[in-house]
Symmetry: C2
Subunit: 192 residues, 2 copies
DNA sequence: AAGGCCACTTTACCTATGTCAAGAAATGCT
DNA sequence: AGCATTTCTTGACATAGGTAAAGTGGCCTT
């Protein structure tokens, strides 16, 4: 069952079972309780995590001390604060479990070893990063072109786990609106 | 003068003059007139561009046919539609010169050759991508946490060339507001 | 069972930004 | 130079979403 996790996440045309086995052997299973932190603001990231079970979020604190959720990571996705991990800079983001969760950790040094010894993971890595960049850009564009209620509808449609598992306040800040506004949008969706 | 362009852009701890010379030799100088396209929506990108002179923008068409400027690329920066170039997918973005410009083009195949033969450019590439990801995330966060006039002030402060060289409508869509709103913000900034 | 806390909702009011339409200024074209 | 087109500004009005404060209900703790 963890095997299919690795297969799903590390899928790439150049990937083969031998490489995959080596990759998997460098991951370690970690059990998380709700609200546990995987990375705290100000610390430098030294690992990333594959999510087997549960929901993870990234958040920052804005200048009024409000928590802004910037990403949700669902099952079969990767929680990786790229700019801290690859540039060895203190993170401005926090990574925290929203629910109880099971994740697989791989340390930077082990990844770095793989990256230098396997073409498959290098190519996979570049593709993963470009996919992340694409998603982040899409999200920016949607913040501009769609209304808050449209954004909420899209979230329900495309990532229902988030709407089911995360508290309203986190979803609201992810959508870029106040929690009372999300509450109002929910109400209008029911009555109309 | 083009040499310092390559030095600035391809700077990385592992980079050395020999590598840099090989890299530079695979770029080709291209002269652009205002409004020329480097990539059109629906086409698959097969190159990226270093900007020596002038201003370049990325834009998408939203569902009402409005152009939304998603990025401005200034001098000594790179114009690269990553997800089209590296995943060979049709681009949803357009890349167009805002002013007359001089850029240096490198084709995907040549880059790919470098990427496989030089550790320096591989590491540089990963760092560049993670930098891009960071910037894009920062921009999303600012769209949520800052008001339109704050965003405009930040743009004036951090990237004045854009404010000087791009037309108001493009700047407004980049800031995520209507052009009339940006005009009003400008007025308020003068009188207050 | 009682108190306390948290997540969510609701209401009233406020403000930033959008929309539309008109005019002024700048730029480009022949 | 002169006309056309685009760019920018302005004003009146509309609306999505913000803020603050109070209310409801659930759940945990003792």
């Amino acid at each position: 069952m963890a095997d299919t996790l690795f297969q799903k996440i590390y899928s790439h045309p150049l990937m083969n079972p031998e490489d995959l086995e080596i990759i998997a052997s460098l991951h370690q299973r970690v059990i998380l309780s709700k609200n546990d932190f995987l990375l705290r603001e100000g610390k430098t990231s030294n690992a990333y995590y594959l999510v087997e079970k549960g929901l993870i979020r990234f958040f920052v604190n804005d200048f009024n001390g409000q928590e802004i959720t910037t990403q949700f990571i669902c099952e079969n996705e990767i929680a990786n604060e790229v700019s801290s991990l690859f540039q060895h800079l203190p993170s401005i983001q926090n990574i925290q479990s929203v629910t109880d969760a099971v994740v697989w950790k791989i340390e930077f040094n082990d990844f770095q070893y793989l990256y230098h010894s396997m073409e498959s993971i290098r190519e996979w890595g570049r593709e993963w990063m470009s996919g992340q960049l694409f998603q982040t850009q899409q999200r920016s564009i949607e913040m501009i072109t769609h209304s808050a209620s449209m954004r909420y509808l899209q979230l329900i449609e495309h990532r229902p786990q988030i709407v089911q598992q995360a508290p309203l306040k986190q979803i609201a800040s992810y959508l870029g609106i106040a929690d009372t506004s999300l509450s109002r949008i929910r109400k209008e969706m029911i009555t109309n």
